[in-house]
């Protein structure tokens, strides 16, 4: 009958990383995704040492070849080795994905915290966010690129800006619901400053959902980069990216479909792996998260 004994449960909360690790190992599908993604990332990082041919060397004599022993997945319209270009292209595509995820999460976190905490700012900021979300992301991105010119940085910005509103909304909703928690009210009663409450009690609640959202943004950014390039509003083809390799294959699709299909396969596998890992992380960190609207 006494309630004073400490219960047997002395286990510590498993760390975030460990929880993620456990989920990855528990499902063969997720495991496969992790392995594939690791291979793609490593290949991209070490691309300059891996590629069998110079991805930029033009060889008109071997234009539009199919796969053979020299050119494993064929050549493009300028006779450049497709395999080497795809491996090199991973650098740009993955950098865009990771960059967009980091920048949009950082910006969205800052704005979301402000919106969740300052009433008058919230009203204005959220209308602006609604406006931004009403513009289809591809249209906004190609408009930005067409005006500002097709550099790596412009493309990164053009991809990042449309992603920010969703992060703002997410952070804001987490902050608003956490603010109602009695432990936050107890902190107010204890005379804690807004800054302390935000840092100590509100911010930690956003970490798990943001990790998940970040992976989704990374996947989405790689996809959008490919689409932008494909539409002709992407990074200059001098530096190969998965998107602009495919864009160059458009005219020659009926002759050598591999120029689109091979990079398309790599992009798809990459994004699929990131999405599967994102879902697994979501399930690991908080099964209820799906209900809070963290879905694309």
């Amino acid at each position: 009958m006494t309630d004073t004994a400490i219960p047997i449960d002395r286990g510590d909360r498993p760390s975030t990383l460990r929880k993620i690790g456990e989920v990855v190992v528990s499902s063969p599908m997720v495991m496969l995704a992790a392995v594939l993604l690791a291979i793609i990332v490593l290949a991209s990082i070490f691309a300059p040492w891996i590629v069998p041919h110079d991805p930029g060397r033009l060889s008109p004599s071997v234009r539009l070849r199919g796969p053979d022993s020299t050119f494993w997945i064929g050549t493009d319209a300028f006779g450049r080795d497709l395999f080497s270009r795809v491996v090199m292209g991973g650098q740009i595509s993955l950098a865009v994905g990771v960059g967009a995820a980091i920048v949009s999460v950082a910006a969205g976190l800052a704005l979301g915290l402000l919106a969740g905490y300052i009433r008058w700012l919230d009203a204005i900021l959220m209308r602006f966010v609604d406006g931004l979300m009403a513009i289809p992301n591809i249209l906004l991105a190609i408009a930005i690129v067409s005006l500002w010119g097709a550099g790596l940085w412009t493309v990164l910005i053009a991809i990042t800006i449309p992603e920010i509103p969703r992060v703002v909304r997410l952070v804001r909703s987490v902050v608003l619901s956490a603010r109602e928690e009695p432990y936050v009210e107890a902190a107010i009663a204890a005379g804690s400053s807004s800054w302390l409450i935000m840092r100590r009690h509100l911010l930690p609640n956003t970490v798990a959902p943001l990790i998940v959202q970040g992976t989704y943004i990374c996947a989405s950014a790689i996809l959008v980069e490919a689409i932008l390039s494909f539409l002709g509003a992407g990074i200059n083809p001098e530096t190969p990216s998965w998107g602009n390799i495919m864009a160059e294959g458009r005219l020659f699709f009926q002759i050598n479909p591999g120029i689109i299909l091979w990079p398309g396969l790599v992009v798809s596998v990459t994004i699929l792996s990131i999405n599967l890992l994102g879902d697994a992380v979501r399930d690991a960190l908080d099964p209820r998260m799906a209900k809070r609207g963290i879905d694309r």
């Binding site: 009958m1 004073t4 009663a189």
Partner: protein, 546 residues
């Protein structure tokens, strides 16, 4: 003898069917026709799971691993799904705790009752509607035609539970399972619902399996009682027998912990200094804005009271009475619309945050929900010292004090390094008290601070608060819906209704000789108020002794 309505033998239920995760461990239970059997237990006793097992509605993760369930002599625990479906509402029905969520929010309530007839009878639409309206009348719903067409959110909690009861009994089943059907209702609504259940049982001869944690309800409604603890049956006896002569220590402790409705002896009014005083405290919520008409709700109106050092002032009332609004205004978690709040002589009602901060130390709060009142991500010690650190106490000194406070609330000092999830509900509520005390407050506001706790734990926390008050001379403002708890801990009592104080005076007077009709109704409605649980006899006998 007749065949029993329900006969359960050796029922075992386990999580994922694992023997080490048993939630019900060999339960025996028999209900005779027309009998009301109360299944009593604290949280985790397995009482609700047992009910779901009878209905065949166990969640997927739970498996029945052993035992036998017979309904009217028929084995049902292994019956195929279609057969079970046929038995539901015709032979056995169930009503649930939360009538709001138990009804489909997007369907008219009349249709929801009608669906039972549709599924289990061959009646035409007209005849069905007639039967539904008739049933709605017999559960004493007003304006049945209108309510038939209403949606759940348009009805009150009591009306919704009546709809559930109508739905459950329209096919006249032999057995009604009621899983804490009145726990989510206000005390006056609870009394009405209980008397309705009694009436229908007499009219239809339905046997009832009534699941509750409330000994008061047991004393009012049960013929027989089965007491459960952690999945095991402790004892089963006829009600009066059990209340007078409990066989097990567990039941005895459980009965002793029930707060009596007779106010405790008053303490001398020693004219101690006033620590908290409000005058004309008012909170008005306005909704809407331009475009939509502004709707104003007066949550608290002209509330005035005085709390002295070392004394406890209770605010009692049902949901919507404004008692929590008053507490939150005093804590300045919401801003009062008008009126004054004097703490230690300073009016804090309108102080801007910067000027308010130095005063914050003097008044602290303990909340209702032990699961949410501590930040799950930081060690409890860190939660305790957060306040003192804000007021410039050195970390080391604050931590030493936190350890002291842990001992003061009967927890080991070393537990400051643990996380909230490593403690039980009652322990967390103690820690929340320690956190409040770390500020050396003069006023402690307890907002339904023991309402979410099991009755035995509740008694301990109440005792702790009384001890601390004696030691530290705290003034306690105790918000509760439970008259028994108020009677046990308060010196003075305020009764609130619709945002207004209807009665205010010494607990002994207000609760023993209430003047206002609402106070009278509240006391009248309290379940089990005739029974002196702690002394194992009815009050009528106690008075003869005296």
């Amino acid at each position: 003898m007749n065949k029993p309505v329900l006969d359960i033998r050796g029922l075992r239920i386990a999580l994922d069917g694992r023997a080490d995760q048993e939630l019900v461990k060999g339960l025996d239970l028999t209900i005779q026709p027309g009998e009301t059997m109360c299944l009593v237990g604290e949280s985790g006793s397995g009482k609700s799971i047992t009910a779901l097992a009878v209905m065949g509605l166990l969640p997927k993760a739970l498996k029945m691993t052993a035992g036998r369930i017979e309904l009217l002599g028929e084995t049902i625990h292994n019956a195929p799904a279609p057969k079970l479906r046929k038995l539901r509402t015709t032979a056995m029905s169930m009503i649930f705790q939360e009538p709001m969520t138990a009804l489909n929010p997007v369907a008219k309530v009349g249709r929801q009752i009608d669906e039972v007839l549709e599924a289990h009878s061959n009646l035409g639409a007209k005849e069905r509607k007639r039967r539904v309206l008739e049933m709605m009348e017999s559960v004493h719903l007003p304006e049945v035609e209108r309510i038939y067409r209403s949606y759940p959110h348009q009805l009150s909690g009591g009306q919704r539970q009546r709809i559930m009861i109508a739905m459950a009994l329209i096919m006249q089943p032999q057995l009604l399972i009621a899983d804490e059907p009145t726990t989510a209702l206000d005390v006056t609504t609870q009394a009405q619902t209980l008397s309705l259940l009694r009436e229908l049982r007499e009219k239809q001869g339905t046997a009832v399996l009534f699941i509750t944690h409330d000994m008061g309800v047991v004393a009012d409604i049960a013929d027989d009682v089965t007491v459960m603890k952690l999945g095991e049956v402790m004892e089963a006896q006829p009600t009066e027998q059990l209340l007078r002569h409990p066989r097990t220590d567990y039941t005895r402790e459980l009965l002793k912990a029930v707060p009596s409705h007779v106010p405790r002896p008053p303490r001398a009014d020693d004219n101690a200094p006033v620590v908290l005083q409000t005058q004309a405290l008012t909170k008005v919520y306005s909704q809407g804005g331009w475009l939509v008409k502004t709707r104003e709700t007066v949550a608290a109106k002209e509330v005035a009271f005085t709390l002295r050092k070392g004394r406890t002032l209770g605010i009692v009332g049902e949901s919507g009475s404004g008692k929590t609004t008053v507490a939150r205004c005093i804590m300045r978690l919401i801003d009062p619309t008008s009126g004054t709040i004097e703490i230690d002589g300073t009016d804090i009602a309108t102080l801007p945050p910067r000027e308010l901060k130095p005063h914050r130390r003097k008044f602290q709060i303990v909340f209702q929900d032990p699961m949410r009142s501590l930040n799950p991500r930081i060690e409890v010690g860190q939660s305790i010292i957060e306040g003192p650190l804000n007021f410039g106490v050195p970390r080391k000194q604050a931590m030493a004090r936190a350890r002291e406070l842990m001992t003061l609330v009967d927890l080991p000092a070393s537990a400051v390094d643990r996380f909230p999830h490593q403690f039980s509900g009652g322990q967390r509520q103690r820690i929340a008290i320690a956190r409040a005390l770390a500020m050396d407050p003069e006023v402690l506001v307890a907002d339904e601070a023991v309402s979410a706790l099991d009755v035995s734990v509740q008694a301990q926390v109440l005792r702790l608060m009384a001890d601390l008050q004696a030691k530290l001379g705290l003034g306690i403002l105790f918000i509760t819906h439970d008259l028994g708890v108020a009677a046990q801990i308060c010196d003075d009592v305020i009764v609130m209704q619709h945002g207004v104080i209807v009665e205010y005076g010494p607990a002994g007077e207000v609760l023993a000789t209430p003047q206002h009709p609402y106070t009278k109704a509240l006391i009248e409605a309290a379940p089990g108020r005739h029974w002196d649980f702690a002394n194992f006899r009815p009050f009528s006998e106690s008075r003869q002794d005296a």
